[in-house]
Point group: C2
């Protein structure tokens, strides 16, 4: 059942011993939502903890600054930024099969919770902010940092097309309430690990162009990953590189699998349909971003991709 | 003499045949301000043109979409985002030695104009927006694009520490008034030329680390620039790369000069004083960003820099 921000606030106010769940492979939005809501509820004197099937990534450790997690049997379970129960991870779902409240912003939310506040906007943190305001909690700088984190990370620091005037205004409010946005932006958007820089350098060496520069293709091999020492979290966004090149309509990234063969990511700029291109290889996705798998040696897979891609220009 | 936004608006309303000047090496803020103000004044029926000593860069050509420049003898001269008369360029200064009004946001503005509206904020476009609102002009999408351009480019798309809550709210207003922010952000912040990608690849190959990774150094040689085909405007921001690496306190960029020797850019992250480091080589600048020139062969210059830099950790 869908409810409003005010009803979600009333539900939270009426309960204690609250468990807040984040989705697996947690990002800034699910974590910012969870720690923001935890801080708000604790300021009302409630017993609260957060849980996620994966560890808190180092880069988001500041969200939990000063937060001691307590052990208790929850009376009320809230999921934040979790569109589907499968995103909680098996162990969490087994331990807490019933989710009382979900606060989310995904159109695809499966309405698995007893009650769902489904917000139409860029980030779950915007939804949580609304709920917190309805609870009459005053926003501390630590809380502002949490909510700013989700708004900024889900919008690429207010750069992606999902950014709305409302996102900008809510972020402005948080900046006034003490969010350390300059430091956060530097940490979240400007810092790359040495390993990431190393793998990027190797990947840029593999760029090839086709169709008068309308297609660009890069490859991330197992050897590059090993040699650079980069882990999975440090490879994020690399498949976005080919499309950022001026004049490129179809950007293709070939990621060598451990067992051989390639995982393919396709990103398109303006008119080519990435999902149709990937469908030709048994894959799928969205118009601007899609994927597939090709189990063939490098040169063969590359040729197949470039030939197919040319048909979409 | 300093005046308010309202007084600036009244001055503009009281005049016709208005010339708007931008600073040399024009950026998104001076150009967005100029074309935004031109569109506003023309909507009031005035005769207006813009002028800049340098050509409109290709990437900002959309600012002038549909704008025909007319030739006339100006009755009133306005400079936008121009802190010093020297930034107008000699030819412009000679032709128009008297600037009637300056709309700017640089603390260092030399108050060279008859009247100056000096705005305290991230971009001149914010100041121009205030003036335009005082004139009672309604904001069209084209006008919103111009003003959004300056706000976004001067703040690195709302990422830099100069961003204020006010910047965010004014940008939100422009988004509602039709600014094509998704397209603009893609054009301004996500697109790199093939030449830029090529030179970046070569530059990343030169990274060396010192002092346990607290110092990172890159080099841009004349050969790289030639081989990649990159022009000066495509090299912007490269000197920011070393400092973006995790753990790096001092990022150094050596740019080989045509005549030999190196132009050095130093960027520091948190505590090292870049200006003092550069002063050791006769240069200077700010705490976080400074420069100097070292006329020595590559290995010698690099050794000197790394030794001196280590003293600032």
């Amino acid at each position: 059942m869908k409810i409003s921000a005010k009803e979600a606030a009333m539900l939270l106010c009426a309960h204690d011993r609250i468990l807040i769940l984040s989705h697996k492979n947690p990002d800034g939005d699910t974590l910012g939502s969870a720690y923001g809501l935890l801080r708000a509820l604790r300021s009302l004197g409630k017993t609260v903890r957060t849980q996620c099937t994966d560890r808190l990534p180092q880069m988001f450790s500041y969200l939990a600054d000063g937060v001691q997690q307590e052990d208790f049997t929850p009376e009320f379970v809230v999921a934040v930024d979790v569109a589907s129960v499968s995103l909680l991870g098996d162990a969490v779902t087994e331990a807490y099969p019933n989710v009382d409240l979900c606060i989310d912003h995904h159109h695809t939310n499966e309405l698995y919770a007893q009650k769902t506040y489904l917000y139409d906007g860029a980030s779950a943190c915007e939804a949580v902010y609304e709920v917190i305001c309805e609870m009459g909690v005053s926003i501390t700088p630590d809380l502002a940092d949490c909510l700013y984190t989700g708004m900024a990370t889900d919008t690429g620091c207010f750069r992606f097309s999902n950014t709305t005037p409302k996102t900008m205004r809510l972020a402005a409010d948080l900046m006034e309430q003490g969010a350390r946005y300059a430091e956060l932006n530097r940490l979240l958007f400007e810092t790359k690990s040495k390993e990431r820089i190393a793998v990027e350098r190797m990947v840029l060496d593999t760029i090839s162009y086709a169709a008068d520069g309308k297609i660009a293709l890069i490859c991330i091999s197992q050897e590059m990953v090993k040699e650079s020492g980069a882990d999975e979290s440090e490879l994020g966004g690399i498949s976005g590189i080919p499309r950022t090149i001026e004049g490129v309509e179809i950007g293709i990234t070939m990621r060598e699998k451990e067992a051989g063969g390639y995982k393919i990511s396709v990103r398109t700029a303006a008119y080519a349909d990435a999902s149709k291109l990937c469908a030709a290889f048994g894959g799928g996705g969205h118009i601007r971003a899609a994927g597939c798998v090709i189990n063939a040696p490098y040169e063969q897979a590359k040729t197949m991709l470039l030939e197919e891609a040319a048909r979409f220009l």
